[in-house]
């Protein structure tokens, strides 16, 4: 066989492959989008089969198809696929952001009506169905106290638990803790409420209350901690695991004891992530209605004492006002919902800023 190869004509020198390729002009994508909208509108309104939503959906599909076809014809198959997937990914982002924008818009537009001094300065005490005023002062106090106490309980407990699992826990015990934390994540809030009702309100609270069971904001805080704890533990655990082992070894090699290494090197490194996890838990707890209803009872009056008598919360206030027959109630519910979202947002931003202050500027 070697002879045939030797007898072949010498090959022509290979052409250097061109690095240039045909590209669609810059205006192509917007032009196709515009055309898609026009065609979709013509089809939908021409046939009289739907409204603007169908136009948008149809236009998106037509745009994808048109873009693929145009790119395939001019630029080739790989470019066409790239463009189509890019367009799909961007649409996915828009789809995901749409509900958020919608929620914010609805809250702001409907909540602005009662965004006044009365709302933040008064409670619902002695407010009848025909009174247009009344406010959520008592609910804001309740939410802040309940979530604050719950955070005071869960943050130290959760972080210590995560430190145990990551840094010290070995074998079955640590495995069992992780497993039960996972199970706790799935506890529905109403069950947490029932647990505290059966355990704290009915069994323990009579001891402090002359033998009578009593609702309290503290009971609500306990129920919220049951819900917050697994989130705090799991997120802290993940963050601690992300701290590279060489950092710990670097500290050990300086003769720093393990507990101090964790406290001064590992925790500060993981702090921003831990704060994010805690704020997620806080946001979840602040939005819970059922446990507060079950064990704090709700109420119309301002009660600063979380250990005695009924308390309300913003989420519970929204629930009660939304179901109230008074024609002034829905506006109060919207404003309370807006307040709740704003509160969580402010707390999150504040916590992030605090966590960042500990980090050094680059």
């Amino acid at each position: 066989m070697t002879t045939t190869i030797a007898n072949q004509h010498p090959r022509p020198p290979a052409q250097p492959p061109s690095l240039r390729a045909k590209r669609l002009p810059r205006y192509a994508a917007p032009a196709i989008a515009l055309a898609a909208v026009v065609v979709a509108a013509a089809i939908v309104y021409g046939a009289g089969i739907g409204g603007p939503v169908l136009v948008v959906v149809l236009a998106a599909l037509l745009h994808l198809a048109g873009l693929f076809a145009a790119s395939n014809a001019v630029e080739g198959r790989r470019s066409a696929r790239n463009r189509t997937w890019s367009a799909l990914i961007h649409s996915a982002f828009v789809l995901a952001a749409l509900p958020l924008a919608s929620v914010v818009w609805t809250l702001v537009s409907k909540g602005v009506e009662r965004l006044d001094g009365d709302f933040f300065g008064t409670s619902m005490n002695n407010i009848g169905a025909r009174d247009p005023n009344g406010g959520a002062y008592h609910a804001i106090v309740g939410t802040l106290e309940q979530v604050g106490i719950a955070a005071l309980i869960t943050v130290p407990l959760g972080i210590l638990c995560a430190i145990y699992v990551v840094e010290y826990g070995r074998g079955r015990f640590a495995f069992a803790i992780r497993f039960f934390v996972d199970v706790m994540t799935g506890i529905p809030s109403i069950v947490a409420g029932l647990f505290v009702l059966a355990f704290w309100v009915l069994v323990v609270s009579p001891v402090f209350n002359d033998g009578r069971p009593g609702f309290s904001g503290f009971a609500a805080a306990l129920a919220l901690s049951v819900l917050m704890l697994p989130t705090v533990v799991r997120s802290t655990e993940e963050m601690l695991r992300l701290v590279p082992a060489p950092l710990r070894e670097g500290a050990y090699a300086l003769g720093v004891p393990k507990w101090k290494t964790i406290l001064r090197v590992v925790l500060p490194t993981a702090l921003p992530g831990i704060v994010t996890g805690v704020m997620l838990a806080v946001a979840r707890a602040a939005g819970e209605t059922a446990p507060v209803l079950l064990v704090a009872g709700g109420g119309a009056a301002i009660n600063f004492n979380p250990f005695e008598d009924n308390q309300s919360s913003l989420a519970l206030f929204v629930y009660q006002q939304a179901g109230d027959a008074s024609r002034y109630a829905p506006a109060r519910a919207w404003t309370a919902a807006l307040t709740l979202v704003a509160l969580v947002l402010v707390l999150t931003v504040a916590a992030k800023l605090l966590a960042r202050r500990n980090r050094l500027g680059r």
């Binding site: 590279p244 950092l247 070894e249 670097g250 500290a251 090699a253 300086l254 003769g255 720093v256 004891p257």
Partner: protein, 258 residues
């Protein structure tokens, strides 16, 4: 102040895997000793067992005696943090603490062990940074994060951090393998200076480096994968590189194996 290290029948395990077996070796004070050998031969394991860093990994343990000036560091009543303060360690990859500034990194060992006095810390930081040949480069930005330095500077920062606690022995686990030639040269120069005060043991894959910096060289090797690493030959560096006694050592340093 530098100390003499005696290893007698040191055997180290990772779980049930025996990584090194019956290492016997004596390191004289104020010398540089290089540990060389093919990958996986246990030289890093041996190095880490000298300051009890080996046992940090789950399931890892050490048998045998390792004495520093006659004191066995594996005795039950030995405080492991005191051992590590006496025998410092520099790692393969620079690992400055990311949440700390350059200054805080250098004095981390002192501060985390309870030293608070600002003037003492300032003095210690300057002394350590000067000893690590880093002072001139960072003296104007001590408050900046340590992670913002270049790789070579970070490694010198880690050396400064190690010598700030004033150990007597400094262990270096391939300290130059992630560095460019200029930074490597800076660190090799540094080793010559540090030799006046410290006993230095360095693991290196670079035989020229071993020949350049060390007084004594220990050659480790394994029969085959899965076998424990053993000390094949330990002698003056010049002897090892010019006229080794063992055939294996000769094969390794001439590049015929490993």
């Amino acid at each position: 102040m530098a100390k003499r290290i005696d290893a007698t029948n040191v055997t180290a395990y990772y779980g049930s895997f025996k990584a090194i077996e019956n290492i016997n070796l004596t390191v004289e004070p104020k010398t540089v000793t290089a540990l060389i050998g093919p990958s996986g031969c246990g030289k890093s394991t041996f190095l880490r067992s000298i300051n009890r860093m080996h046992e940090v990994l789950p399931g890892a343990r050490v048998e045998g005696d390792l004495t520093i000036d006659g004191q066995n560091i594996y005795d039950r009543d030995v405080d492991v943090t005191a051992v590590r303060r006496t025998i410092g360690m520099v790692f393969q990859r620079p690992n400055p603490f990311p949440t700390m500034s350059i200054f805080e990194n250098v004095v981390a060992g002192l501060r985390l062990n309870g030293l608070r006095k600002k003037s003492v810390l300032n003095e210690a930081a300057e002394r350590a940074l000067r000893a690590a040949n880093l002072w001139d480069e960072v003296k104007d930005r001590l408050g900046k994060p340590g992670a913002g330095l270049s790789g070579g500077q970070q490694q010198r920062l880690c050396i400064a951090r190690t010598i700030a606690v004033e150990p007597q022995v400094v262990l270096m686990d391939e300290p130059c393998s992630a560095l460019d030639p200029i930074s490597t040269l800076a660190i090799e120069d540094l080793m010559f200076q540090l030799k006046d005060k410290f006993t230095i043991i360095i693991v290196t894959h670079n035989m020229q480096q071993a020949a350049r910096v060390s007084d004594r060289t220990a050659f480790f090797s394994i029969e085959k994968t899965g076998d424990p690493g053993r000390l094949i030959e330990y002698d003056n560096t010049q002897k090892i590189f010019s006229n080794p006694t063992q055939k294996k050592t000769e094969d390794y340093i001439t590049g015929r194996f490993g």
